[in-house]
Symmetry: C2
Subunit: 367 residues, 2 copies
């Protein structure tokens, strides 16, 4: 199994991820009924696609064991409430809303990116078609806003506005991602990719923490510091996700080995490698210049396919160019900035423990 540990340790984290696993399981148990109630309120035609997407049903409508993802975002909402001395039970609807927003973006991103696998299963658009995946994504965004609008908690309107602003940022991030993917490997800077990752991933993790702060009655400084914490942890999360996208174990990730390389994805380790000025960068640029499915140097239209050896060569080039080390180092860097923001909002290490454990968990995971 590849080692994707970012090398971050902290006096307050449990280190082995046990605490985070428990927090995640508790959050899922807490939020799941609210989430299922929301999804089951959809008209039948849309409900079926949504229940499939969440992993609760097969394509035929039969119940499945379910693998609705790690529920990191709702766990962050609830942990942020707790960190600021609030009552997490008051924020369960808001936490479910954040998870609905996340899943709306997954459904739409998969359509745009033509991704065929999500959580070890065929993506919704491959099963139900583009129109259904678009419509159910639209409906999940609306459901999220409905949950918060119907919430009588005094923080609800501010949370709703924040969530809406976050969706605009997520859309801008996905737009930047699509635009970057259309450009050549030498036309993309690392700064652009980091900004894109902050909008696409950091924004919603920051928003989750900020909404938790709002529900705990936190002031503007606490809310912004927790937003910053979530954003920085989100960047670390994305960096590790990109490492897993190249070196992750297919049995655990649910994606083929080197999946990101196969589609020439300009993930952060790849772009860092391309920018390294090393001989390995030149090799990688050549590989990425060739159309997917063609070994470099073969004429266009030659669809003999690339063997696993080809992807391994690309992975080694990223590694030799320093892309993997950079990504893990930068993830550690972002984690330390996250810890700084967290300390600003929650000086008591005991109170901050849950958020910290979650942030460390996502930078230590291997799938």
């Amino acid at each position: 199994m590849p080692d994707t540990t970012a090398g971050v340790t902290s006096a307050h984290g449990s280190g082995d991820g046990h605490e985070a696993t428990e927090i995640l399981a508790a959050a899922r148990e807490c939020v799941d009924p609210e989430l299922r109630r929301a999804v089951d309120s959809l008209p039948g035609s849309l409900r079926r696609v949504a229940r499939y997407h969440f992993g609760w049903e097969g394509a035929d409508g039969a119940p499945t064991a379910g693998n609705a993802g790690k529920a990191i975002r709702p766990a962050l909402v609830l942990a942020a409430v707790r960190a600021l001395g609030g009552e997490p039970a008051t924020a369960v609807r808001a936490a479910a809303a954040v998870e609905l927003i996340h899943n709306f973006t997954l459904l739409h991103d998969d359509v745009m990116d033509r991704d065929t696998t999500r959580r070890h299963r065929p993506t919704a658009w491959t099963v139900f078609g583009d129109a259904d995946a678009i419509l159910v994504g639209d409906a999940l965004q609306a459901l999220a806003q409905r949950l918060v609008a119907e919430d009588t908690h005094p923080a609800a309107p501010a949370a709703a506005a924040r969530l809406a602003r976050c969706v605009v940022e997520l859309c801008a991030g996905q737009h930047a991602d699509c635009a970057l993917e259309r450009r050549g490997p030498d036309e993309v800077t690392l700064d652009e990719c980091l900004a894109m990752a902050e909008a696409k991933t950091g924004a919603l993790l920051g928003c989750a923490c900020a909404i938790g702060a709002l529900y705990a009655g936190g002031g503007p400084e606490e809310v912004e510091a927790l937003d910053g914490f979530g954003r920085e942890a989100g960047l670390a999360f994305q960096l590790i996700d990109d490492v897993i996208g190249i070196w992750g174990d297919p049995g655990r990730t649910g994606k083929p080995a080197g999946a990101d390389l196969a589609v020439r994805k300009k993930s952060l380790p790849v772009v860092a490698a391309l920018a390294s000025g090393t001989p390995a960068a030149v090799e990688l640029a050549e590989l990425y210049g060739a159309p997917p499915g063609s070994p470099p140097g073969s004429p266009p239209g030659d669809d003999t396919g690339e063997g696993e050896g080809e992807l391994e060569r690309a992975a080694r080039a990223v590694e030799r160019a320093g892309g993997r080390d950079w990504a893990q180092g930068h993830a550690a860097d972002r984690m330390s900035r996250a810890i700084g923001q967290l300390a600003r909002a929650v000086p008591d290490p005991e109170a901050a423990g849950g958020l910290l454990a979650l942030a460390e968990f996502v930078t230590r995971r291997t799938h």
Copy 2:
């Protein structure tokens, strides 16, 4: 010019549509700055597509004279506030939010339906691609919710919840529309098509009126009666829209003559005609059974195209089967139900005048 008058008259309506034209112009003037401010708050990449969609810019970013649609929905919001004795100025953000929701659905529907023309111009997806049209639609939904969430009016949370529930209904309506279009012409009932039209069109017109009632401080009965008014008027609106889709003047509609027939759209007059049990229904079913672009009886794959005569033959078949008369009669019927709902909420004819003029306008229009 074809006569699409539904034949509805009322003691309270101005009859010639002059009052409605003035109400629409005033609403547009009132809501436009809020709408532009919201759209201009989008990040540049998304803003450009949104400004194109609203008709404020060309594909090259140059300003255009603009044709952002008739603004019927925001006008209904403001007219409903006025009808219940409220102050329309307090509901301008909510009115802009309703218009943003409408435009989000247009962007996404055009992607799903592969429609290439909207408001006399190429649709956004044909200019910017599917991904941009999907993302900007997503962002417009979020902007709408942001406007309402940031509104301090006491009715804002109820309006936000109502708008979110309406979006789910719009999605279900579009889903039903896509599903109906995939079925054979003899596998679709008129009741299904009417239910689809209520969800796809009636729901948002009802929601616009209900939100106006909320902002005027109306009670539950008034809110529901105005929702019912908007829904019934929305059905009338859709019926007339379908008539225009077959017999409308291309120079005024911005769509080719018989556009709905050319794509074998199962619009309400067509489905009514198919269900008529007349010889013309049999002829129409044959025409609709043939793949688009092929004259009936020609072998599949024969793409010699269908002349205008072919579409004229289909239009005549719908007319002879009674589809046009039924649509206009049913529109009048829905309008009278709408007037009944309106009288329930607003017994004073003077106060109800604005809403009535708008409803009559949309059932009298010819483009």
